[in-house]
Subunit: 400 residues, 2 copies
């Protein structure tokens, strides 16, 4: 007889999730997760799939028929997008200014692509000139890929000029929307994005486990024109579209409960409405920045290139990165993220994504930092952060 494990590892302690994702999950979404299951070919599940596709098109800003959740986390959607569109030998231009551009390079190379990087320092957007220079190195570029919201640095990437430049060279324009979708405008059709992928655990505030992707007409045409099978069976959209489309051909057993959660998370998001949701993300970002600056901290990304949902702030000299994050977790039950790559130990990443983007969370974090930073020898007025944030909220309320 096997002894079951100690019970003290579950349930986990309560946390306020203000890191790079997962974000806080709405109680309605948690309740959806706990709903007893039906089969993956049940008419009731098929009805839910149809509504999910419809809602995903809304949040992506597209009419693309092939708009479905991939059965894996955001990185599975990244890989699905690349391996479906790339064949060995294809030239691919990838914007690299953080972890996710770097990851795209690795995935594309594993698919046999010849990668030309359009690089910018971590913490900065990629300029049109850099993209043009990368394109100039190619003969027949198949894809231009940019990360809309670099979760590793907090940088927002403009897309419109890049879309035009890619199409002028006959390339498909592909965008990583993992962290942007649901928190700031992602306008697939208006910006003429051919393919994009996202994740559920950022501004959609659904647990991690699914990756919505959307493929437009040119991307679908590329899929049809492939000369060899997609290298991944699990991520093969030519097969997945037959399960998510009219045919309902069994491919793999869909993660039923995760699809329940995504369905409910999309309902919550659409009930709020995109404009209100974006405004909320923007306002809480502004309040947080005001508060951090009032504490004497400096943002790591320049004005105009900052994401609303992922805020990189510099760790002051002499302050112990790990000690502050540990104290936040242990004493305040707040998770924030550390920096990655060259920004490791240099920045904190504060996520205000989806349900996490609330005034009470902003002030709770600012209050905690105001208490913890002086303990690290960083001189600041501990109450100044909360005060500054509250002024931003008060000012916004007056304008409204």
């Amino acid at each position: 007889m096997t002894v079951p494990p100690a019970s003290n590892v579950f349930p986990p302690p309560e946390r306020l999730l203000l890191g790079p994702g997962p974000s806080e999950v709405h109680p309605r979404v948690l309740a959806a997760l706990a709903t007893p299951l039906v089969g993956h070919l049940d008419p009731a599940f098929i009805a839910l799939m149809e509504e999910t596709k419809r809602m995903l098109r809304e949040v992506f800003g597209t009419t693309n028929e092939l708009t479905i959740p991939i059965s894996g986390t955001g990185s599975a959607g990244l890989e699905a997008t690349i391996v479906n569109l790339v064949e060995p030998g294809d030239e691919v231009v990838i914007g690299v200014n953080g972890v996710f551009g770097t990851r795209l390079t690795d995935v594309a190379e594993r698919a046999g692509a010849t990668v030309v990087k359009a690089e910018a320092p971590w913490g900065q957007a990629i300029s049109n000139d850099t993209i043009a220079a990368a394109l100039a190195k190619t003969t027949k570029p198949r894809l231009v890929v940019l990360v809309h919201a670099e979760t590793s640095t907090g940088v927002w990437q403009p897309l419109e000029d890049a879309s035009r430049m890619a199409h002028e060279r006959g390339a498909l324009f592909v965008v990583d929307c993992v962290t942007s979708l649901g928190g700031c405008p992602v306008e697939i059709d208006r910006v003429d994005i051919d393919a994009a992928y996202s994740g559920t655990q950022k501004c959609l505030s659904c647990p991690p486990g699914l990756s919505p992707v959307t493929f437009g007409p040119r991307a679908v045409e590329r899929l049809r024109a492939r000369t060899r099978k997609v290298q991944s069976w699990y991520l093969d959209l030519t097969m997945l579209e037959k399960y998510w489309g009219e045919e309902r051909v069994y491919h793999h057993t869909a993660p039923i409960s995760m699809n329940y959660a995504l369905y409910e998370a999309l309902r919550v998001a659409l009930e709020e409405g995109p404009e209100a949701r974006f405004a909320r993300h923007r306002l809480n970002h502004e309040a947080l920045v005001a508060g951090l600056e009032a504490l004497g901290l400096t943002m790591a990304v320049a004005v105009g290139e900052r994401l609303w949902m992922l805020n990189s702030v510099r760790i002051p000299a002499g302050v112990d990165d790990a000690a502050v994050r540990k104290a936040l977790l242990d004493e305040d039950h707040i998770e924030i993220g550390g920096g990655l790559g060259p920004m490791k130990g240099q920045t904190w990443r504060i996520g205000l994504m989806g349900e996490s983007s609330r005034p009470a969370n902003v002030t709770r974090l600012l209050a905690a930092l105001g208490r913890l930073l002086p303990r690290q020898g960083f001189a600041c007025d501990g109450a100044a952060g909360v005060t500054a944030a509250e002024q931003v909220y008060a000012s916004a309320a007056r304008k409204a």
Copy 2:
């Protein structure tokens, strides 16, 4: 303002899941799914990861260190196992007698393998002679892969001789345990299986979304000896083992809620204990078969090759496959599966997996079939199925 979808597609109607998976989920597991999330690098989540690995080793019957859930459904585990162990040009022997052997062939070929099939008719196990003949066609076989429990047909595949034959030729022995794990003995170490993968939504009675895999010393050695990167970044075990191992290097955001569910499902399974759990699956299978035969139906798989958890029964001539399954769903809220491939329209697949394998479910299905079959012009004593099953239970109770 976007209009939210009609609410009548969720929650779905109540179903009794007696198909090929997902199976019924224990209320404790549903409650675990609804637990608020922590981050994927939170010490509390890491503690849960460690307990999950420990429990997975128990159910797999192994001490393999590299025993982790892949962040996708069973087919993701299949693909992970193949693409991590295969390099282009490798010879791979695959047992093919149903959908999943066929799928393995497709996946291995996409990974560049030269596949030699060991084929048997759908509905029959693969003989030692067939495996030996396939091995004889190879020069330096890298893998021998068999499906322990063919979910598409209900066939149980013996493994011990194949393990020996594979190792005599210097090949790794790889097994698909998607449907067997948790419902009948899967003895990775005793049978000397080098790598195996499973799914959560079968006899572990957890929702679909994760795929436990286990890699033994020889498989890990193969992984280390690779000359090129694994073609899938998302499924690359050389990276995943650094997140699930001591280093805790971020790879992808783990599906937190699904891991909560797996943790609790494993606890439920280990509290019952493997022997009791296997005996329960066997007894309910025997009662179901007795009941189906008493109704005049015929099993599609020979005695000795039948799975306990997936029962293929022939559809009598003149009976409308789809009409019966639709009536079961609409009138009785019971899902069973149809046949696949050459068995489409020829068989029903009745799953008695994990929480679905209960006497009350067996008799409920038999009662429903006893009512529906005469409606299709199939002459039978509608009550005979339940009576025969109850005799099996009574007899077992007397022996206990």
